[in-house]
């Protein structure tokens, strides 16, 4: 339970079907909980939707969060849902401003758990500088969901100097990774049935909008492409980039940062860190001329000390990602045929 925002007095200690009925219980849950906690000028109007102005070019993104377990080291489904959509907008070169928030709750969810998730949402919104302006709550019968699913949709204005487009990627561009791989996926897997092992690894869920905007301020159109390697990991993102740009990607294993403990867990579980999910990480494809300065700036960011140039775009082997192994051999890095791990975010 969160000590800073104590749970308000409610008539029930678990969610029941009445909380999604649209009647008194829904109203009690929203008034005492969501509206009070997440309050802002637009949300306070409690209208069917939010009405606002936005200037200039606008980006919009949506994502649904079904992670299991809902609480994990370093976060929970609440802050994941805020950071995830904020970061998807950041990858468009946009600063998230307003978010919608939709819940599908399963009958029987503990009110204390729901409250802790709401408090995390509030904290994550403050950290990212975004507001929840509209939302929805539905409840499904026990067994028809899995505690809680969250959807967020975000909207924000695109940075005036941003021109993020796969068509801008050209041979010679450098590929920069903002930090160490695989923390979120390994954190989730360490909680799963049959896989419990002791670890101090925590999820890297965090907002990326501020650092991305600062980088855009300085490097503008020299940043050709951005993407966050969430599900499917770095390997999947690089394959998507190679396919969209119709160019090849060369990476070097020794330059790809992975923390020792994460690496050890991957070895033990037979996972390749290249395919494991991340949450607070991004890949930037930048003009070679600014790559050094870009990396230096990124390394000064509080989460950027392990940022690294991991490879470059090439005319050779179009649509393929090739990795030079630690021992100097070369191999293909393909897309995975299926999920390495389901319900990771």
């Amino acid at each position: 339970m969160n000590l800073f925002c104590p749970i308000p007095k409610l008539d029930f200690d678990t969610i029941n079907l009445g909380h999604g009925s649209g009647g008194t219980l829904t109203s009690q849950l929203l008034e005492a909980g969501v509206f009070q906690l997440l309050e802002n000028e637009l949300l306070n109007k409690k209208h069917d939707g939010a009405i606002f102005n936005l200037d200039g070019k606008v980006a919009m993104s949506t994502d649904t969060y079904v992670v299991s377990p809902i609480f994990f080291e370093g976060g929970n489904i609440g802050d994941l849902a805020i950071n995830g959509t904020v970061n998807d907008l950041a990858m468009c070169g946009a600063s998230a401003k307003y978010l919608s928030l939709g819940f599908v709750l399963e009958e029987g969810l503990k009110m204390t758990e729901f409250w802790d998730i709401l408090v995390s949402i509030k904290t994550a919104c403050e950290a990212a500088g975004v507001q929840i302006v509209t939302g929805d709550t539905k409840v499904v019968e026990r067994g028809k969901g899995d505690k809680i699913f969250v959807n967020t949709t975000g909207i924000g204005t695109v940075h005036p100097k941003a021109d993020i487009d796969a068509a801008n990627i050209k041979a010679g561009d450098k590929i920069i990774l903002s930090g160490p791989l695989a923390r979120h996926g390994i954190t989730i897997v360490s909680h799963r049935q049959g896989l419990q092992f002791e670890t101090t690894v925590s999820s890297d869920t965090r907002p990326l909008n501020k650092i991305v905007l600062e980088l855009l301020d300085e490097f503008g159109e020299h940043i050709h492409f951005l993407r966050d390697p969430t599900r499917g990991g770095l390997a999947t993102v690089l394959n998507e980039i190679a396919a969209e740009a119709k160019l090849g990607v060369d990476i070097s294993q020794k330059d790809i940062p992975v923390e020792d403990e994460v690496y050890g867990a991957c070895e033990m579980l037979g996972f390749d860190p290249l395919y494991v999910a991340n949450e607070g990480l991004f890949v930037a494809i930048v003009d070679a001329a600014v790559a050094g300065a870009f990396l230096k700036k990124l390394q000064q960011w509080e989460h950027g000390s392990m940022a690294s140039i991991v490879g470059e775009v090439t005319k050779d082997h179009p649509r393929q990602v090739i990795m030079k192994s630690n021992i100097g051999g070369r191999r293909v890095v393909n897309m995975l045929p299926g999920e390495q791990l389901p319900r990771i975010c």
């Binding site: 579980l269 037979g270 630690n326 051999g329 191999r331 393909n334």
Partner: protein, 369 residues
């Protein structure tokens, strides 16, 4: 990481490659028996670093690949028609059966769970006393101790709703089957290091003598593999045939006696069918009579129609080292990891999957991409 990084050292790898190049004169086909070794060779790019007259031939040591299609059909049948909780290592669930895979069964409502340890399945059985829990116990000698231990645990704790669907296979009879094939072109073996960690190395002396073939028990890291290849090449160039142990940091001559004792308590050696290869006498483990209550085949009296293989799949020839994965006409066209014809394209230890996913030659020739 201690005990790993030393065995991935680029400097040591360079030195070993140099020595291999200086030593080798003839043309040699060396079979690495284990699928884990195949993947390490391909993922680290070693196949492209070796001199062209040292050809690695990929062996049958992928347990998922050699599990008979009939057993997958039995697992699907148990999950679909007997309402059991079917627990399995992750690799097995995408392998095609004659009707469907376990993954397809799961999507049709069967309770299929992916576990890392059979002891977890015993725990699930205790938590679900009203349901039958079956663990799909596949593997070579390496996974046999843990699978046997799960039966011992269930027996000691009086867990009666637990059983195993077993398809254990043994490495030495498979090596003999490969050598006795008239078309065999294998000049030497890299033995499977982890199998020997359990069983010791004694079983391989008779094979060395009978077929006059070098066997070097080898580990899985780049330095292990290259050192094993170097030791093998040295023997071949001198015309020697000996059993040697490269993987001394893990493999003791006598193996792991506790593990062997655990296996012997539950299992006995039986004839086994190998997918793609056929029946090999005395090449697997079956559950002993006194533990038959824990043998899913006997417990559920499974009676299903004869299973049929897709005959266009040449995985048998791949696993016997007769062809390389990319020499199969279906490779990357009719057979991919998403739509596999056979198990070696699915398993994380399968040679076809290794070639499809990682091998440079596949990309350079543009096959399947």
């Amino acid at each position: 990481m201690k005990y790993v990084s030393e065995f991935r050292s680029p400097e040591v790898v360079d030195a070993l490659l140099k020595e291999i190049r200086e030593t080798v004169k003839g043309n040699w086909n060396i079979m690495e028996v284990c699928g884990g070794q195949t993947h390490s060779l391909v993922k680290n790019g070693i196949l492209n670093m070796l001199p062209s007259n040292v050809q690695m031939v990929h062996g049958p040591g992928c347990p998922v690949c050699v599990t008979p299609v009939n057993l997958i059909d039995k697992a699907v049948h148990l999950a679909m028609d007997h309402n059991v909780i079917l627990c399995s290592y992750g690799d097995m669930i995408r392998v095609p059966g004659s009707g469907m895979s376990l993954l397809e069964a799961k999507s049709k409502g069967a309770d299929v769970r992916i576990l890392y340890s059979p002891l977890e399945a015993v725990k699930i059985a205790k938590e679900n006393p009203d349901r039958e829990v079956v663990f799909f116990a596949v593997g070579f000698e390496t996974t046999a101790p843990a699978n046997a231990l799960s039966v011992i645990h269930a027996f000691k704790e009086g867990v009666k709703n637990y059983s195993i669907l077993t398809s254990h296979v043994l490495v030495p009879p498979a090596m003999e089957a490969i050598m006795s094939d008239a078309a065999c072109k294998v000049d030497a073996f890299l033995g499977a290091g982890h199998v020997c960690a359990i069983m010791g190395i004694g079983e391989y002396y008779p094979i060395v003598e009978k077929y006059k073939i070098p066997i070097v028990v080898t580990g899985f890291e780049p330095v292990d593999l290259l050192e094993g290849i170097l030791m093998t090449v040295k023997q071949l160039e001198k015309g020697e045939y000996k059993l040697e142990n490269q993987y001394t940091r893990v493999v003791e001559t006598g193996g792991n006696k506790n593990a062997v004792k655990t296996i012997d308590e539950i299992f006995e050696v039986t004839d086994r069918e190998w997918r793609g290869i056929g029946e090999i006498p005395r090449s697997g483990y079956g559950v002993k009579e006194q533990y038959s209550a824990y043998d899913a085949v006997r417990k559920f009296k499974i009676d299903i129609a004869e299973s049929h293989e897709d005959l266009t799949c040449l995985s048998g020839d791949v696993m016997k080292g007769k062809i390389k994965p990319d020499q199969c006409p279906n490779f990357g066209t009719k057979c991919t990891p998403v739509q596999p014809l056979g198990a070696p394209m699915v398993s994380s230890e399968g040679a076809c999957a290794a070639y499809y996913n990682f091998h440079m030659a596949t990309v350079l020739e543009g096959i399947g991409h």
